[in-house]
Symmetry: C2
Subunit: 305 residues, 2 copies
Amino acid sequence: MNELLIVGSVALDSIETPEGVVENALGGAATYGATAASLYGPVNLVGVVGEDFPAEHVEFLSGRNIDLAGLQTIIGGKTFRWKGDYLEDLNAAVTHETQLGVFEHFEPNLPDRYRDADYVFLANINPSLQLAVLEQVRAPKFVLCDTMNLWINIAREDVLKVFEKVDIAVLNDGEAKMLMEEHSIIRAGRKMLKTGPKYIIIKKGEHGALLFSGDGADNEIFSCPTFPIETVVDPTGAGDSFAGGFMGHIARTGDLSLENLRRAVVYGTVTASNTVQDFSLGALKKVTPELIEERYQVVKGMVKF
Amino acid sequence: MNELLIVGSVALDSIETPEGVVENALGGAATYGATAASLYGPVNLVGVVGEDFPAEHVEFLSGRNIDLAGLQTIIGGKTFRWKGDYLEDLNAAVTHETQLGVFEHFEPNLPDRYRDADYVFLANINPSLQLAVLEQVRAPKFVLCDTMNLWINIAREDVLKVFEKVDIAVLNDGEAKMLMEEHSIIRAGRKMLKTGPKYIIIKKGEHGALLFSGDGADNEIFSCPTFPIETVVDPTGAGDSFAGGFMGHIARTGDLSLENLRRAVVYGTVTASNTVQDFSLGALKKVTPELIEERYQVVKGMVKF
């Protein structure tokens, strides 16, 4: 059994989109990533919450193939909270408030049995914490990292240190252009392949995702469309679900061939296509492996010529 | 021999992009469409120019399998001129000046031998002129129309009258959303299928194109990526080249199956990928059928999983 190790934020989100509002809903990169990945196999989660973290969320996660031995609860601490909206643009959140809470002094400390992880998903947190996790993992076979514009702005060197140690980096198009200081997605992707990771994925929201391999030549780019969604209710966690689905498929198959990485991109895409159809984990928690497989086949048909 | 009938603008463009400037360069929707389509087979062009239209442009077009019996030259008239830039956004031109010239009183009058056309490409012109052309064509097998935001704004009813009479309509994402008053591309595409055309193509610039068929169900959408281009020199005419390549492939094969329409979308895409690599017709005029086929195979590889 290949357990997937996921480290990242566990949060309570307050979000407004054109489709509605939620307050203090379960969120966080590791939460979305782990819930998505648990559709594919067992997950070991590393993160931190405060004493205020509702018991029902713990029950939900542990009821889904997600081991929480690595989830620290800080007595007297407050869970990380994020408040934002997508009223102007569904592809770009406007942050109203960020309360780091227990995340401010978080030191990831992996339970010993997590340290033999073969597959590691470093979800979006401070790159110095991503590095601290990697130091504790003995001999991983395949490591994926995500990041965000905040870290590219204030900790670019650390982001690039993480890149040197991972097999694959996943960014959205804006982040990729920002990190590589390029206007072209294609150029940014090719340039990123020279910073360390063997593979780069650039997520383009409703326009799908690109997987760059080799030295990024024309025939070394895989283009995956999104599954067609008419109404995006809440885009929060789509990128985390994408990476969670991607790594979930990699861990369950143990197959690191480029062909299987392409299939993993499609699994990531269809997993994320569910996430955006409701607020918080609302849609993702209802998804079955059968629905994932159905949407996978639709995407296969969408690109056939 | 299936001659493709193309009607639209022939123009002289003055354009500035981040890559440079051109003045009074050969342009126009019918020019790009015909030059692109001529890579696939013979074209009959219907349009109008003024006495100022350089002889070298006439020589260029007629030297490429493009019949100009339908190109009127108005003595004493001035050729349509457009001036604009793409300095802010390569996906959206800012118009500085439009001189309609001979286009103001253009009445398309088809040479009799053009009226038996099986395949018709109504490139971007006033929809009332597109309708006037269709009235002269006896029994077309397959008609494609393009349009633009200007006509959607000032002649929406006429645009929809054209839609009732064509087999396929091609719009970019912004135009599709505007015409259907929808925020979602998927919803706009599905809604447009109810306005007349059996097929709808929504072009998404660097993100590729979607072909909607049937009633636009999930499995009735074809998604085609773009061929990867690092540096877009001048996006002018990309959409016209796309439609020209699409219809060129349809006319040369005479195959109206959905499978062949999908292949035509890919041919349109790779044809347009050349257009943007230089100003005016600079890159497109150098393209060979071998290069088209090479890029077609690259796109095939890009979506394989």
